[in-house]
Protein backbone atom coordinates (compact mmCIF):
# COMPACT_ATOMS: atom_id res chain seq x y z
CA UNK A 1 0.00 0.00 0.00
CA UNK A 2 1.50 3.36 -1.03
CA UNK A 3 0.89 6.54 0.95
CA UNK A 4 -0.03 9.67 -1.01
CA UNK A 5 0.20 13.39 -0.35
CA UNK A 6 -3.56 13.35 0.25
CA UNK A 7 -3.03 10.77 3.00
CA UNK A 8 -0.39 12.98 4.64
CA UNK A 9 -2.71 15.99 4.61
CA UNK A 10 -5.63 13.94 5.91
CA UNK A 11 -3.59 12.45 8.79
CA UNK A 12 -2.11 15.87 9.60
CA UNK A 13 -5.62 17.28 9.88
CA UNK A 14 -6.76 14.41 12.12
CA UNK A 15 -3.67 14.92 14.29
CA UNK A 16 -4.23 18.70 14.40
CA UNK A 17 -0.71 19.42 13.15
CA UNK A 18 -0.24 22.02 10.43
CA UNK A 19 1.99 20.66 7.66
CA UNK A 20 3.12 23.30 5.15
CA UNK A 21 2.77 22.20 1.49
CA UNK A 22 6.56 22.36 1.03
CA UNK A 23 7.05 20.07 4.08
CA UNK A 24 4.44 17.54 2.96
CA UNK A 25 6.71 15.96 0.30
CA UNK A 26 9.47 15.34 2.83
CA UNK A 27 7.03 13.95 5.39
CA UNK A 28 5.63 11.62 2.72
CA UNK A 29 9.10 10.27 1.85
CA UNK A 30 9.93 9.60 5.50
CA UNK A 31 6.59 8.01 6.35
CA UNK A 32 6.86 5.81 3.25
CA UNK A 33 10.24 4.52 4.49
CA UNK A 34 8.83 3.82 7.94
CA UNK A 35 5.79 2.02 6.53
CA UNK A 36 8.07 -0.14 4.39
CA UNK A 37 9.57 -1.34 7.70
CA UNK A 38 6.13 -1.75 9.28
CA UNK A 39 4.87 -3.82 6.32
CA UNK A 40 7.27 -6.63 7.39
CA UNK A 41 4.57 -7.51 9.92
CA UNK A 42 2.27 -8.76 7.16
CA UNK A 43 4.61 -11.69 6.39
CA UNK A 44 3.52 -13.53 9.55
CA UNK A 45 0.20 -15.33 9.84
CA UNK A 46 -1.54 -14.24 13.05
CA UNK A 47 -4.91 -15.94 12.54
CA UNK A 48 -6.39 -17.02 15.84
CA UNK A 49 -3.86 -15.11 17.97
CA UNK A 50 -5.40 -13.02 20.75
CA UNK A 51 -4.22 -9.37 20.53
CA UNK A 52 -2.01 -8.36 23.47
CA UNK A 53 -2.80 -4.82 24.57
CA UNK A 54 -0.83 -4.89 27.76
CA UNK A 55 2.23 -6.40 29.38
CA UNK A 56 0.35 -7.71 32.40
CA UNK A 57 -2.86 -9.69 32.03
CA UNK A 58 -4.58 -8.01 34.96
CA UNK A 59 -7.91 -6.27 35.27
CA UNK A 60 -7.95 -2.56 35.94
CA UNK A 61 -8.45 -1.81 39.63
CA UNK A 62 -11.71 -0.32 40.82
CA UNK A 63 -12.04 2.08 43.72
CA UNK A 64 -14.78 3.56 45.84
CA UNK A 65 -16.68 6.32 44.01
CA UNK A 66 -15.64 9.11 46.35
CA UNK A 67 -13.75 12.39 46.39
CA UNK A 68 -10.02 11.75 46.81
CA UNK A 69 -8.40 14.95 45.55
CA UNK A 70 -8.57 18.52 46.78
CA UNK A 71 -9.38 21.67 44.80
CA UNK A 72 -6.11 22.83 43.22
CA UNK A 73 -7.48 24.77 40.27
CA UNK A 74 -5.59 27.97 41.16
CA UNK A 75 -2.30 26.04 41.20
CA UNK A 76 -2.99 24.25 37.92
CA UNK A 77 -4.39 27.32 36.13
CA UNK A 78 -1.41 29.44 37.17
CA UNK A 79 0.56 27.80 34.33
CA UNK A 80 -2.16 28.17 31.65
CA UNK A 81 -1.59 30.47 28.64
CA UNK A 82 -4.81 32.47 29.31
CA UNK A 83 -7.32 32.21 32.15
CA UNK A 84 -10.21 34.40 33.28
CA UNK A 85 -12.70 33.76 36.10
CA UNK A 86 -11.35 30.18 36.49
CA UNK A 87 -11.97 29.48 32.79
CA UNK A 88 -9.41 28.71 30.09
CA UNK A 89 -9.71 31.33 27.36
CA UNK A 90 -9.76 30.44 23.66
CA UNK A 91 -11.21 32.21 20.60
CA UNK A 92 -14.97 32.19 20.24
CA UNK A 93 -16.12 28.88 18.70
CA UNK A 94 -19.87 29.55 18.27
CA UNK A 95 -21.08 32.87 16.81
Amino acid sequence: MALTLDDVNRIAHLARIEVEPREAERVLTQLTGIFRLIEEMQAVNTDGIEPMSHAQDVMLRLREDGVTGSDQHALFQAIAPQVEACLYLVLKVIE
Binding site: R16, E40, Q42, H54, R63, L75
Partner: protein, 488 residues
Protein backbone atom coordinates in the same frame (compact mmCIF):
# COMPACT_ATOMS: atom_id res chain seq x y z
CA UNK B 1 34.49 11.68 45.81
CA UNK B 2 34.58 11.68 41.97
CA UNK B 3 34.29 7.92 41.49
CA UNK B 4 32.46 7.04 44.71
CA UNK B 5 29.46 4.78 44.50
CA UNK B 6 26.18 5.75 46.14
CA UNK B 7 26.95 3.17 48.82
CA UNK B 8 30.36 4.71 49.57
CA UNK B 9 28.94 8.24 49.65
CA UNK B 10 26.14 7.10 51.97
CA UNK B 11 28.70 5.56 54.34
CA UNK B 12 30.70 8.81 54.43
CA UNK B 13 27.53 10.83 54.98
CA UNK B 14 26.35 8.53 57.77
CA UNK B 15 29.74 8.71 59.49
CA UNK B 16 29.63 12.54 59.15
CA UNK B 17 32.95 12.53 57.26
CA UNK B 18 31.27 14.75 54.70
CA UNK B 19 27.97 16.66 54.60
CA UNK B 20 25.25 16.50 51.96
CA UNK B 21 25.80 20.22 51.35
CA UNK B 22 29.45 19.49 50.49
CA UNK B 23 28.59 16.52 48.27
CA UNK B 24 25.84 18.48 46.48
CA UNK B 25 28.09 21.51 45.95
CA UNK B 26 30.81 19.23 44.58
CA UNK B 27 28.53 17.69 41.94
CA UNK B 28 26.75 20.95 41.01
CA UNK B 29 30.17 22.53 40.45
CA UNK B 30 30.99 19.68 38.05
CA UNK B 31 27.60 20.02 36.31
CA UNK B 32 28.23 23.73 35.76
CA UNK B 33 31.84 23.25 34.64
CA UNK B 34 30.91 20.59 32.06
CA UNK B 35 27.53 22.10 31.14
CA UNK B 36 28.58 23.46 27.74
CA UNK B 37 30.80 20.51 26.80
CA UNK B 38 28.23 17.77 27.42
CA UNK B 39 24.84 19.56 27.50
CA UNK B 40 23.60 16.82 29.84
CA UNK B 41 21.35 19.04 31.97
CA UNK B 42 18.32 21.20 31.17
CA UNK B 43 17.77 22.65 34.67
CA UNK B 44 20.09 23.23 37.60
CA UNK B 45 18.83 25.08 40.68
CA UNK B 46 21.53 25.33 43.28
CA UNK B 47 19.30 27.14 45.79
CA UNK B 48 16.65 24.39 45.80
CA UNK B 49 19.26 21.63 45.77
CA UNK B 50 21.20 23.07 48.70
CA UNK B 51 18.01 23.59 50.72
CA UNK B 52 17.29 19.85 50.32
CA UNK B 53 20.90 19.04 51.17
CA UNK B 54 20.68 21.04 54.41
CA UNK B 55 17.47 19.22 55.33
CA UNK B 56 19.21 15.91 54.60
CA UNK B 57 22.13 16.88 56.84
CA UNK B 58 19.66 17.54 59.66
CA UNK B 59 18.03 14.14 59.14
CA UNK B 60 21.42 12.45 59.28
CA UNK B 61 22.41 14.45 62.40
CA UNK B 62 19.17 13.31 64.04
CA UNK B 63 20.04 9.69 63.22
CA UNK B 64 17.15 9.41 60.77
CA UNK B 65 19.15 8.97 57.56
CA UNK B 66 18.62 6.09 55.11
CA UNK B 67 20.69 4.62 52.27
CA UNK B 68 19.96 7.58 49.94
CA UNK B 69 19.69 10.46 52.42
CA UNK B 70 21.76 13.40 51.23
CA UNK B 71 22.72 11.81 47.89
CA UNK B 72 22.33 14.21 44.91
CA UNK B 73 20.50 12.52 42.02
CA UNK B 74 20.02 13.63 38.43
CA UNK B 75 16.44 13.16 37.20
CA UNK B 76 15.36 12.82 33.59
CA UNK B 77 13.34 15.89 32.65
CA UNK B 78 10.31 13.64 32.06
CA UNK B 79 9.63 13.40 35.82
CA UNK B 80 7.56 16.17 37.41
CA UNK B 81 9.22 17.69 40.49
CA UNK B 82 7.24 20.47 42.15
CA UNK B 83 8.74 23.90 41.44
CA UNK B 84 11.14 22.58 38.79
CA UNK B 85 10.78 22.88 35.03
CA UNK B 86 9.64 19.60 33.42
CA UNK B 87 10.25 20.20 29.71
CA UNK B 88 10.42 16.61 28.46
CA UNK B 89 13.03 17.98 26.05
CA UNK B 90 10.33 19.86 24.13
CA UNK B 91 9.55 23.44 23.17
CA UNK B 92 5.95 22.45 23.95
CA UNK B 93 6.80 22.25 27.68
CA UNK B 94 9.70 24.72 27.75
CA UNK B 95 7.71 26.95 30.14
CA UNK B 96 6.11 24.15 32.19
CA UNK B 97 6.93 24.35 35.90
CA UNK B 98 5.55 21.16 37.45
CA UNK B 99 2.81 21.89 40.00
CA UNK B 100 3.21 18.48 41.68
CA UNK B 101 5.70 15.64 42.30
CA UNK B 102 5.83 12.38 40.36
CA UNK B 103 5.52 9.28 42.56
CA UNK B 104 9.19 8.53 41.91
CA UNK B 105 10.18 12.04 43.04
CA UNK B 106 7.96 11.76 46.14
CA UNK B 107 9.71 8.52 47.06
CA UNK B 108 13.18 10.04 46.65
CA UNK B 109 12.10 13.09 48.68
CA UNK B 110 10.84 10.82 51.46
CA UNK B 111 14.20 9.00 51.36
CA UNK B 112 15.98 12.36 51.85
CA UNK B 113 17.70 12.35 48.45
CA UNK B 114 18.64 15.68 46.83
CA UNK B 115 17.70 16.74 43.28
CA UNK B 116 21.01 17.63 41.58
CA UNK B 117 19.22 18.79 38.41
CA UNK B 118 16.99 17.73 35.53
CA UNK B 119 18.66 16.00 32.61
CA UNK B 120 18.43 16.49 28.87
CA UNK B 121 16.58 13.88 26.81
CA UNK B 122 15.13 13.17 23.39
CA UNK B 123 11.90 15.13 22.93
CA UNK B 124 9.07 13.26 24.70
CA UNK B 125 11.51 10.32 24.98
CA UNK B 126 11.29 9.70 21.23
CA UNK B 127 14.79 9.04 20.01
CA UNK B 128 17.86 6.83 20.34
CA UNK B 129 20.60 9.46 20.21
CA UNK B 130 19.43 12.47 22.21
CA UNK B 131 19.48 14.49 18.98
CA UNK B 132 15.73 15.22 18.98
CA UNK B 133 15.92 17.39 22.13
CA UNK B 134 14.73 21.00 21.78
CA UNK B 135 17.72 21.82 24.01
CA UNK B 136 20.29 20.37 21.59
CA UNK B 137 22.11 17.05 21.65
CA UNK B 138 23.95 15.60 24.64
CA UNK B 139 27.55 14.57 23.93
CA UNK B 140 29.02 11.22 24.88
CA UNK B 141 31.57 11.75 27.70
CA UNK B 142 33.88 9.11 26.15
CA UNK B 143 33.99 10.89 22.79
CA UNK B 144 32.20 14.20 22.33
CA UNK B 145 31.78 13.54 18.59
CA UNK B 146 29.57 10.54 19.48
CA UNK B 147 25.99 10.37 20.72
CA UNK B 148 25.27 9.22 24.29
CA UNK B 149 22.25 7.21 23.14
CA UNK B 150 18.69 8.02 24.03
CA UNK B 151 16.24 8.85 25.04
CA UNK B 152 17.67 9.13 28.60
CA UNK B 153 20.98 10.40 27.17
CA UNK B 154 21.46 13.21 29.69
CA UNK B 155 21.05 10.92 32.70
CA UNK B 156 23.44 8.33 31.26
CA UNK B 157 26.04 10.98 30.35
CA UNK B 158 25.70 12.55 33.82
CA UNK B 159 26.57 9.28 35.57
CA UNK B 160 29.33 8.46 33.05
CA UNK B 161 30.99 11.88 33.43
CA UNK B 162 30.61 11.67 37.23
CA UNK B 163 28.29 14.71 37.35
CA UNK B 164 26.01 12.74 39.67
CA UNK B 165 26.50 9.43 41.47
CA UNK B 166 23.19 8.06 40.13
CA UNK B 167 20.23 9.14 38.01
CA UNK B 168 16.74 8.23 36.85
CA UNK B 169 15.51 7.49 33.36
CA UNK B 170 12.59 5.92 31.52
CA UNK B 171 12.60 3.06 29.04
CA UNK B 172 9.87 2.57 26.42
CA UNK B 173 11.92 0.71 23.79
CA UNK B 174 15.43 0.76 25.26
CA UNK B 175 15.77 4.35 26.51
CA UNK B 176 17.59 3.34 29.72
CA UNK B 177 19.57 0.32 28.48
CA UNK B 178 20.83 1.73 25.16
CA UNK B 179 22.30 4.98 26.60
CA UNK B 180 23.71 2.99 29.55
CA UNK B 181 25.53 0.78 27.03
CA UNK B 182 26.76 3.74 24.94
CA UNK B 183 28.16 5.60 27.97
CA UNK B 184 29.57 2.68 29.99
CA UNK B 185 27.22 2.81 32.99
CA UNK B 186 24.60 0.49 34.50
CA UNK B 187 20.91 1.00 33.78
CA UNK B 188 17.86 -1.05 34.72
CA UNK B 189 14.34 -1.17 33.31
CA UNK B 190 12.06 -2.93 35.81
CA UNK B 191 9.17 -5.29 35.05
CA UNK B 192 6.27 -3.25 33.68
CA UNK B 193 4.15 -2.03 36.61
CA UNK B 194 6.87 -2.08 39.30
CA UNK B 195 7.59 1.68 39.18
CA UNK B 196 4.63 4.08 39.14
CA UNK B 197 4.15 6.22 36.03
CA UNK B 198 2.33 8.94 37.98
CA UNK B 199 3.94 12.29 37.16
CA UNK B 200 6.12 10.72 34.47
CA UNK B 201 5.13 12.42 31.21
CA UNK B 202 3.51 9.71 29.07
CA UNK B 203 4.87 8.51 25.72
CA UNK B 204 3.51 4.95 25.20
CA UNK B 205 1.65 3.99 28.34
CA UNK B 206 1.68 0.20 27.88
CA UNK B 207 5.48 0.22 27.49
CA UNK B 208 6.85 3.16 29.57
CA UNK B 209 8.71 2.22 32.73
CA UNK B 210 11.00 4.29 34.97
CA UNK B 211 14.30 2.96 36.27
CA UNK B 212 17.72 3.88 37.66
CA UNK B 213 21.22 4.56 36.29
CA UNK B 214 24.31 4.08 38.47
CA UNK B 215 27.89 2.85 38.39
CA UNK B 216 27.24 -0.49 40.08
CA UNK B 217 24.51 -3.13 40.28
CA UNK B 218 24.48 -2.62 44.04
CA UNK B 219 23.66 1.09 43.60
CA UNK B 220 20.90 0.20 41.12
CA UNK B 221 19.39 -2.05 43.80
CA UNK B 222 19.51 0.77 46.37
CA UNK B 223 17.83 3.13 43.89
CA UNK B 224 15.18 0.58 42.92
CA UNK B 225 14.37 -0.04 46.59
CA UNK B 226 13.17 3.58 46.68
CA UNK B 227 11.61 3.86 43.19
CA UNK B 228 9.56 0.65 43.21
CA UNK B 229 6.24 0.36 44.96
CA UNK B 230 2.49 0.40 44.56
CA UNK B 231 0.79 3.70 43.72
CA UNK B 232 -3.00 3.87 43.38
CA UNK B 233 -2.70 6.89 41.04
CA UNK B 234 -1.16 4.74 38.27
CA UNK B 235 -3.88 2.35 37.06
CA UNK B 236 -1.24 -0.19 35.97
CA UNK B 237 0.86 -0.05 39.15
CA UNK B 238 1.12 -3.57 40.56
CA UNK B 239 0.10 -4.42 44.12
CA UNK B 240 2.95 -6.57 45.43
CA UNK B 241 4.84 -7.08 48.68
CA UNK B 242 7.78 -4.64 48.80
CA UNK B 243 11.09 -6.29 47.87
CA UNK B 244 14.61 -5.60 49.07
CA UNK B 245 16.47 -5.67 45.76
CA UNK B 246 19.83 -5.94 47.57
CA UNK B 247 18.88 -9.22 49.26
CA UNK B 248 20.42 -11.62 46.75
CA UNK B 249 23.40 -9.56 45.55
CA UNK B 250 26.01 -11.82 47.13
CA UNK B 251 24.42 -15.18 46.21
CA UNK B 252 26.82 -17.50 44.34
CA UNK B 253 26.02 -18.02 40.65
CA UNK B 254 26.78 -21.75 40.65
CA UNK B 255 24.28 -23.53 38.40
CA UNK B 256 22.59 -20.37 37.09
CA UNK B 257 21.37 -21.09 33.56
CA UNK B 258 22.02 -18.28 31.07
CA UNK B 259 20.04 -18.35 27.83
CA UNK B 260 21.82 -17.03 24.76
CA UNK B 261 19.31 -16.21 22.01
CA UNK B 262 20.59 -17.20 18.57
CA UNK B 263 18.95 -14.05 17.17
CA UNK B 264 21.12 -11.80 19.39
CA UNK B 265 24.34 -13.09 17.84
CA UNK B 266 23.25 -13.21 14.19
CA UNK B 267 24.02 -10.89 11.25
CA UNK B 268 23.92 -7.20 12.14
CA UNK B 269 25.96 -7.50 15.34
CA UNK B 270 29.26 -5.61 15.06
CA UNK B 271 32.28 -7.86 15.62
CA UNK B 272 33.81 -5.65 18.34
CA UNK B 273 30.57 -5.75 20.34
CA UNK B 274 30.32 -9.53 19.83
CA UNK B 275 33.88 -10.03 21.12
CA UNK B 276 33.29 -8.02 24.31
CA UNK B 277 29.93 -9.70 24.99
CA UNK B 278 31.38 -13.19 24.43
CA UNK B 279 34.24 -12.38 26.82
CA UNK B 280 31.72 -11.28 29.45
CA UNK B 281 29.73 -14.49 29.01
CA UNK B 282 32.93 -16.50 29.40
CA UNK B 283 33.43 -14.71 32.72
CA UNK B 284 29.95 -15.82 33.83
CA UNK B 285 30.87 -19.41 32.93
CA UNK B 286 33.95 -19.08 35.16
CA UNK B 287 31.60 -17.90 37.92
CA UNK B 288 29.77 -21.23 37.64
CA UNK B 289 26.96 -20.37 35.23
CA UNK B 290 25.81 -22.76 32.51
CA UNK B 291 24.87 -21.40 29.09
CA UNK B 292 22.11 -22.76 26.86
CA UNK B 293 21.05 -21.67 23.40
CA UNK B 294 17.50 -20.32 23.19
CA UNK B 295 15.39 -19.03 20.30
CA UNK B 296 13.36 -15.83 19.99
CA UNK B 297 12.10 -16.37 16.43
CA UNK B 298 9.69 -13.41 16.39
CA UNK B 299 12.17 -10.89 17.78
CA UNK B 300 12.96 -9.61 14.28
CA UNK B 301 9.40 -8.26 14.13
CA UNK B 302 9.76 -6.28 17.35
CA UNK B 303 10.91 -3.08 15.60
CA UNK B 304 7.97 -2.94 13.12
CA UNK B 305 5.52 -3.90 15.88
CA UNK B 306 6.93 -1.25 18.20
CA UNK B 307 6.68 1.45 15.49
CA UNK B 308 2.97 0.76 15.23
CA UNK B 309 2.10 0.41 18.92
CA UNK B 310 4.29 3.14 20.45
CA UNK B 311 3.23 5.86 17.94
CA UNK B 312 -0.43 4.79 18.30
CA UNK B 313 -0.24 5.26 22.06
CA UNK B 314 1.82 8.45 21.66
CA UNK B 315 -0.69 10.02 19.26
CA UNK B 316 -3.37 9.59 21.94
CA UNK B 317 -1.18 10.68 24.86
CA UNK B 318 0.16 13.76 23.10
CA UNK B 319 -3.30 14.95 22.05
CA UNK B 320 -3.39 16.81 25.38
CA UNK B 321 -0.84 19.36 24.15
CA UNK B 322 -3.16 21.85 22.48
CA UNK B 323 -2.06 25.27 23.74
CA UNK B 324 -5.08 25.67 26.00
CA UNK B 325 -4.30 24.47 29.50
CA UNK B 326 -0.50 24.57 29.84
CA UNK B 327 2.67 24.67 27.81
CA UNK B 328 3.38 26.46 24.56
CA UNK B 329 0.72 28.39 22.61
CA UNK B 330 1.35 29.71 19.07
CA UNK B 331 1.51 33.52 19.07
CA UNK B 332 -0.78 33.95 16.02
CA UNK B 333 -3.86 31.99 14.92
CA UNK B 334 -7.19 32.65 13.22
CA UNK B 335 -9.59 30.34 15.07
CA UNK B 336 -9.60 27.48 17.59
CA UNK B 337 -8.67 24.80 15.03
CA UNK B 338 -5.84 26.99 13.79
CA UNK B 339 -4.68 27.48 17.40
CA UNK B 340 -4.38 23.69 17.81
CA UNK B 341 -2.71 23.11 14.45
CA UNK B 342 -0.17 25.93 14.74
CA UNK B 343 0.61 25.28 18.41
CA UNK B 344 1.33 21.63 17.66
CA UNK B 345 3.26 22.37 14.44
CA UNK B 346 5.50 24.88 16.25
CA UNK B 347 5.69 23.21 19.68
CA UNK B 348 6.67 19.69 18.56
CA UNK B 349 9.90 18.77 16.79
CA UNK B 350 10.14 16.72 13.58
CA UNK B 351 10.48 13.25 15.16
CA UNK B 352 7.56 13.74 17.55
CA UNK B 353 5.36 14.97 14.71
CA UNK B 354 6.41 12.00 12.58
CA UNK B 355 5.38 9.56 15.30
CA UNK B 356 2.07 11.31 15.98
CA UNK B 357 1.29 11.10 12.24
CA UNK B 358 2.17 7.37 12.12
CA UNK B 359 0.06 6.74 15.22
CA UNK B 360 -2.89 8.70 13.87
CA UNK B 361 -2.72 6.75 10.61
CA UNK B 362 -2.55 3.26 12.13
CA UNK B 363 -5.51 4.07 14.38
CA UNK B 364 -7.59 5.66 11.63
CA UNK B 365 -10.69 4.15 10.04
CA UNK B 366 -9.84 1.32 7.68
CA UNK B 367 -6.29 0.75 8.93
CA UNK B 368 -6.89 -0.15 12.58
CA UNK B 369 -7.12 -3.94 12.01
CA UNK B 370 -4.35 -4.12 9.40
CA UNK B 371 -1.83 -2.29 11.57
CA UNK B 372 -2.84 -1.81 15.19
CA UNK B 373 -4.54 -5.16 15.85
CA UNK B 374 -1.97 -6.99 13.72
CA UNK B 375 0.82 -5.47 15.82
CA UNK B 376 -0.94 -6.45 19.05
CA UNK B 377 -1.20 -10.05 17.85
CA UNK B 378 2.50 -10.11 17.00
CA UNK B 379 3.23 -8.59 20.40
CA UNK B 380 1.75 -11.73 21.94
CA UNK B 381 3.95 -13.98 19.77
CA UNK B 382 7.03 -11.99 20.79
CA UNK B 383 6.09 -12.26 24.49
CA UNK B 384 5.41 -16.02 24.13
CA UNK B 385 8.92 -16.53 22.72
CA UNK B 386 10.29 -15.31 26.06
CA UNK B 387 7.92 -17.58 28.02
CA UNK B 388 9.31 -20.55 26.06
CA UNK B 389 12.91 -19.38 26.47
CA UNK B 390 12.57 -18.99 30.25
CA UNK B 391 11.53 -22.65 30.53
CA UNK B 392 15.15 -23.44 29.71
CA UNK B 393 17.06 -20.68 31.52
CA UNK B 394 17.04 -18.30 34.51
CA UNK B 395 18.40 -15.21 32.74
CA UNK B 396 18.91 -14.20 29.12
CA UNK B 397 22.08 -12.41 28.04
CA UNK B 398 23.31 -10.76 24.89
CA UNK B 399 24.42 -7.41 23.52
CA UNK B 400 22.41 -4.30 24.48
CA UNK B 401 23.06 -2.68 21.10
CA UNK B 402 24.30 -3.91 17.70
CA UNK B 403 27.15 -1.34 17.63
CA UNK B 404 28.88 0.99 20.08
CA UNK B 405 27.95 4.70 20.13
CA UNK B 406 27.65 6.16 16.63
CA UNK B 407 28.58 9.72 15.71
CA UNK B 408 26.36 12.78 16.07
CA UNK B 409 24.51 13.34 12.81
CA UNK B 410 25.30 9.86 11.49
CA UNK B 411 21.72 8.55 11.63
CA UNK B 412 19.78 11.76 12.31
CA UNK B 413 18.51 12.01 8.70
CA UNK B 414 17.36 8.39 8.46
CA UNK B 415 14.63 7.48 10.96
CA UNK B 416 14.55 3.78 9.97
CA UNK B 417 18.29 3.29 10.62
CA UNK B 418 17.86 5.06 13.96
CA UNK B 419 14.94 2.77 14.90
CA UNK B 420 16.95 -0.36 14.10
CA UNK B 421 19.59 0.59 16.69
CA UNK B 422 17.08 -0.59 19.33
CA UNK B 423 16.70 -4.08 17.81
CA UNK B 424 17.86 -5.94 20.97
CA UNK B 425 15.97 -3.88 23.55
CA UNK B 426 12.46 -3.33 22.15
CA UNK B 427 11.16 -6.91 22.51
CA UNK B 428 11.74 -6.69 26.29
CA UNK B 429 9.35 -3.71 26.56
CA UNK B 430 6.75 -5.41 24.37
CA UNK B 431 6.83 -8.44 26.70
CA UNK B 432 6.95 -6.24 29.84
CA UNK B 433 10.04 -8.03 31.18
CA UNK B 434 12.84 -6.50 33.27
CA UNK B 435 16.14 -5.77 31.52
CA UNK B 436 19.41 -4.10 32.30
CA UNK B 437 22.69 -3.10 30.69
CA UNK B 438 26.08 -3.26 32.39
CA UNK B 439 29.50 -2.21 31.09
CA UNK B 440 31.43 -5.11 29.51
CA UNK B 441 34.52 -3.57 27.96
CA UNK B 442 35.23 -1.43 24.94
CA UNK B 443 34.86 -1.67 21.17
CA UNK B 444 37.22 -0.94 18.31
CA UNK B 445 36.89 2.84 18.64
CA UNK B 446 37.30 2.72 22.45
CA UNK B 447 33.57 3.32 22.93
CA UNK B 448 31.95 1.31 25.75
CA UNK B 449 30.10 -1.97 25.11
CA UNK B 450 27.01 -2.94 27.11
CA UNK B 451 26.00 -6.45 28.14
CA UNK B 452 22.23 -6.87 28.32
CA UNK B 453 20.63 -9.04 30.99
CA UNK B 454 16.96 -9.94 30.65
CA UNK B 455 15.08 -11.44 33.58
CA UNK B 456 11.79 -13.26 33.87
CA UNK B 457 8.85 -11.25 35.29
CA UNK B 458 9.89 -9.80 38.67
CA UNK B 459 13.40 -11.21 38.20
CA UNK B 460 15.13 -7.90 39.08
CA UNK B 461 16.90 -9.33 42.15
CA UNK B 462 18.29 -12.24 40.10
CA UNK B 463 19.61 -9.90 37.37
CA UNK B 464 21.18 -7.65 40.00
CA UNK B 465 22.74 -10.69 41.69
CA UNK B 466 24.37 -11.83 38.43
CA UNK B 467 25.55 -8.31 37.57
CA UNK B 468 26.95 -7.75 41.08
CA UNK B 469 28.94 -11.00 41.07
CA UNK B 470 30.33 -10.11 37.62
CA UNK B 471 31.35 -6.71 38.97
CA UNK B 472 33.25 -8.37 41.85
CA UNK B 473 35.63 -9.97 39.32
CA UNK B 474 35.80 -7.21 36.65
CA UNK B 475 36.33 -3.45 36.79
CA UNK B 476 34.70 -2.16 33.56
CA UNK B 477 31.99 -0.47 35.64
CA UNK B 478 34.50 1.66 37.55
CA UNK B 479 36.31 2.94 34.43
CA UNK B 480 35.82 6.65 33.75
CA UNK B 481 36.25 8.79 30.64
CA UNK B 482 39.55 10.22 31.86
CA UNK B 483 39.59 13.36 29.70
CA UNK B 484 36.18 14.60 30.85
CA UNK B 485 36.63 13.44 34.42
CA UNK B 486 39.87 15.38 34.87
CA UNK B 487 37.90 18.55 34.06
CA UNK B 488 35.40 20.23 36.33
Amino acid sequence: MLNFTVKQLAADLAARRVSSVEVTQYFIKRINALGKTLNAFISVDEVQSLASARAADQLIAAGKGGPLTGIPLAHKDIFCAKGWLATCGSKMLSNFVAPYDAHVIERFNQAGAVIAGKTNMDEFAMGSSNETSFYGPVKNPWDTAAVPGGSSGGSAAAVAARLAPAATGTDTGGSIRQPAAFTGVCGLKPTYGVVSRYGMIAFASSLDQGGPFAKTAEDLALMLNVMAGFDARDSTSLQREPEDYTRDLAQPLQGLRIGLPTEFFAAGLASDVARAVEAAIAEFRRLGCETVEVRLPNMRLSVPVYYVLAPAEASSNLARFDGVRYGYRAPEYSDLLDLYCKTRAQGFGAEVKRRILIGTYVLSHGYYDAYYIKAQKLRRLIAQDFVEAFKRCDLIMGPTTPTTAFNLGEKAGDPVQMYLSDIYTIAVNLAGLPGMSIPAGFGATSHPVGLQLIGNYFGEAKMLNAAHRYQQVTDWHMRMPEGICSEG
